[in-house]
Structure formats: structure tokens, C-alpha cells
Amino acid sequence: MLRPRLIPILQVDNGRLVKTTRFKNPTYVGDPINAVRIFNEKEVDEIVIVDISASKQQKSPNFSLIEDLASECFMPLTYGGGIHTMEDANILFSLGVEKIALQSMLFENPKLFRDLVSRFGSQAIVFSLDIYRDYFGKVRTFSKHNKLTKKLTWEQALELASTLGIGEVLICDAGREGTMDGVDQRLIQEVTTNLPFPVVFSGGVGNFTDINNSLTWGADAVGVGAFCVFRGPNKAVLVTYPSSQQFSQELNWNRT
């Protein structure tokens, strides 16, 4: 394998590109198609698009927008948000989506989850797990819209997802999401241990030190949000992605 993947995770809210902070207060960033076009030109490793309004409003995916986004991507695209049926998944794959990210389905309909793996293959099914460190320092499952996630610990959720045959997991530290405040070493080490499938970690990445640390502490790939859409202390909007030269110079991790 060449260098680990650095993956922009973009949030779409009713067709607009936004950025939340700890999954709250979405700030308008711009037009998602434009952003994807820029990432494509910059030869981004891969991209994840999450429709936060589809989850919240219990709607189906916006297939028309996804079709437009997929047509701009000459790299893999993972889509998540509002996927509820086999037909939703079928349409998404036919539009050019490479992988689908599922969250509440694990808790609400594990049978369909398993059927999706059987039909489309493990490598196409991603589990999206949001966690946070509570007041007492314990790592817990986080869910903004679905109270059912409280019924499973993050360990149980990963165990179940693994049994159902997922190909990859996106783990986000909801407590640091959007903050660029740095990453939580013990949390990363705790949740990434002993997972046989690739783990994409996100939440708090603000610079290459955070990227390197995430990889050293157990992530196989790093997801970035604010890091690739904001610049400077005033969070001016700027869609960017490191160049291959920057990667050569700044990427430096060591997994023991």
C-alpha cells in the first residue's frame, strides 16, 4: 500500500455544503458540486459525502444531487445519509457511488444491513460510528437523531458491524468534530484496536501533526472536514487539499 488515505468528509444540508462544530451549528461553506470539482482537480484520494438533512428529516437521499456529484468524481465516493432500503442502495451504486455509509440501520434493521453486504459485498458497505468522551471520561456512542444508538456501546456496535461483514468503519470523535482542536490519543488507541478492516478516523484534525498522530495511534486513514474547507483563525472558506509534495514533506507516522 502506498501512503495512507486522507479523505475529505463533506456535509450537505438541503443541497448546500456546510460545516458543523460538534455536529451542531452548520455554517454555510458553498456549493457541494463546486467543492467536489475542486477536490477532483486536486486528485484527492477519495471523498465522503454525508447528507445531514436526509438523516435529520428522515428523507431519502437526494439522488439528483448525488448523480451530479458522482459525475464530477474520478476517485471513489462514499455516500451516507437517509439510506433505508435495498432500492436506495441500488440506485446509489448505479449512480457511481463506490461505497455507502450506514449508521442507524445497524441498530434499527440489522437484517437489511446484512442483506446489503450479501448483495453488494463487504467492500461497498461502511459503518459510520460517532463517539464522544462523556463528562466522566468514558467513551460513548453518539447520536444526534437516533436514540436507539444509546442501546449499544461502541464496542457492541463495532462487534455487530464486524459480524454483519462491513468493509470499513468511519469513526468520528463528535466532541472534537469541526473544532480542529487536535485529536484524542487514548480515544483513538482505544477504539481502533484489533479491528480487521480499515478504520478512517476523523474529529479534531487541524494539521499534519494531528494526521500523523491519528495514523500512529491506530487509524488506517484520516478523515478531514474543517481542515480542508477553512483557512486561518477567522475560518475563511477555502477548499484545499495537500499537494503530493506536501504529503512527502509532512506525512510522517510510525505504527508499532
Binding site: S71, F74, M75, S94, S122, A124, E168, P196, V199
Partner: protein, 200 residues
């Protein structure tokens, strides 16, 4: 099945007219057939049978009128079979697919093989392309890999835990494990070379 749109997108972008065909029609000579695929082996076999493409591909291979390019699952379907499923593949390229195994000492190896990787092509690629690709990388996402017994079918090798054949061939059939349609300019360049090489 899925992925057809992505392939057409890329081919159109590099200036080639590509058409999706749900069912096989009269294939002209020098036709270039791309069999993409995302999904499970048995599902793929079922769809090849129900659409009629399974037999059409075998005929096309037998007459040697067309180049057949299998991508990812498409590559696997061209083979004799895979550990992933119970059904038989088309048998156009000899050999089988096995699941990646994580050995005891390989603590950081993950399955599926997911991400960007290199392919070390040998001269067999020159049967299909005017040049041998160098300094390129492609996107891989798969849990099963070609298990080669001899070198005749091998066109390119990659490394994930151990070396495995990531490009294979038999006569006018070529299988690529990775996704050129999702590999930016590297994939575009490869497609361009393959299509130029066959005067498509």
C-alpha cells in the same frame, strides 16, 4: 450492475464514445467490451446469466473478435471461480480467486485491501497497450485476489501482505483488479492506452 456509469464518464472525458448495453447485441469486430462490477461474485454470475452477457462474452472470447476488459468484480467473473461464491465464473481466464488472509505477525494488515497502490506491469501489457505504464497508482477495493499457479496469465503484480497478481490476461481478455475509472489521471491514461492499443 453498478459502476457502468463511472466507466462511461471517464471514457467520455478522454474522448471515447462508450455505450452501456443491458443486453448483448450484434458485436462488431474490434469492439472493446468493458465488464465493470461492484458487488458479490454470485450476484455477478447471476446477472451475467440473466442478461445473456455470460454467453455473449464466451462467444466474443472464442471468436477473438473483441477485446474484453474486466474490472474488479468484472475481472473475477472472467475467471473460473472465487472463494467468495459457489457459482462458476465464465472460465475465460484460467484460475481462481482467494480471500486475503491476515497472518499472525501482520498486525497492521487490513481486509479489504482498500486504497491507492502500485502495479508492476510486465511486458504482457504490451499486447493491449502501446506502452507499459510506469510511476502510476490506482485505487483498489477488494477482499479477494487472483491466486496464480503459473505466470502465463500474469500481466501485473501488486503488494498487500504479500505479492498478488493485480492484472491478468488470456488471449484477448484482460482483467484488472483495481478501478481505473476511479483512479484520476492514472486510470484515464491507462484507458487511453488500452483503447489506442486496440484501435478501438
Amino acid at each position: 450492475m453498478s459502476n457502468v456509469k463511472s466507466v462511461i464518464n471517464m471514457l467520455n472525458k478522454i474522448g471515447f464514445l462508450a455505450v452501456a448495453q443491458q443486453k448483448p447485441t450484434e458485436l462488431t469486430s474490434n469492439a472493446f467490451i468493458v465488464l465493470p462490477g461492484v458487488g458479490t461474485f454470485d450476484q455477478g454470475v447471476k446477472e451475467l446469466a440473466s442478461s445473456g452477457w455470460g454467453n455473449a462474452l464466451k462467444d466474443a472470447f472464442a471468436t477473438e473478435k473483441s477485446i474484453i476488459l474486466g474490472l474488479c468484480l468484472g475481472m473475477q467473473l472472467l475467471s473460473e471461480g472465487s472463494e467468495e461464491g459457489d457459482k462458476a465464473g465464465l472460465g475465460i481466464i484460467p484460475g481462481h480467486f482467494k480471500k486475503f488472509e491476515i497472518e499472525e505477525n501482520q498486525t497492521n494488515m487490513k481486509v479489504p485491501h482498500m486504497g491507492w497502490n502500485e502495479v508492476d506491469f510486465n511486458d504482457s501489457i504490451l499486447d493491449f497497450s502501446p506502452i507499459k505504464p510506469i510511476e502510476q497508482r490506482y485505487y483498489f477495493v477488494h477482499s479477494y485476489h487472483y491466486s496464480h499457479q503459473n505466470d502465463d496469465q500474469v500481466v501485473g503484480m501488486s503488494y498487500h501482505g504479500s505479492r498478488f497478481a493485480s492484472a491478468i490476461k488470456n488471449k484477448k481478455a484482460l482483467g484488472l483488479q483495481f478501478h481505473p475509472e476511479k483512479s484520476h489521471r492514472f486510470g484515464a491514461q491507462l484507458f487511453s492506452n488500452l483503447l489506442t492499443g486496440t484501435n478501438a
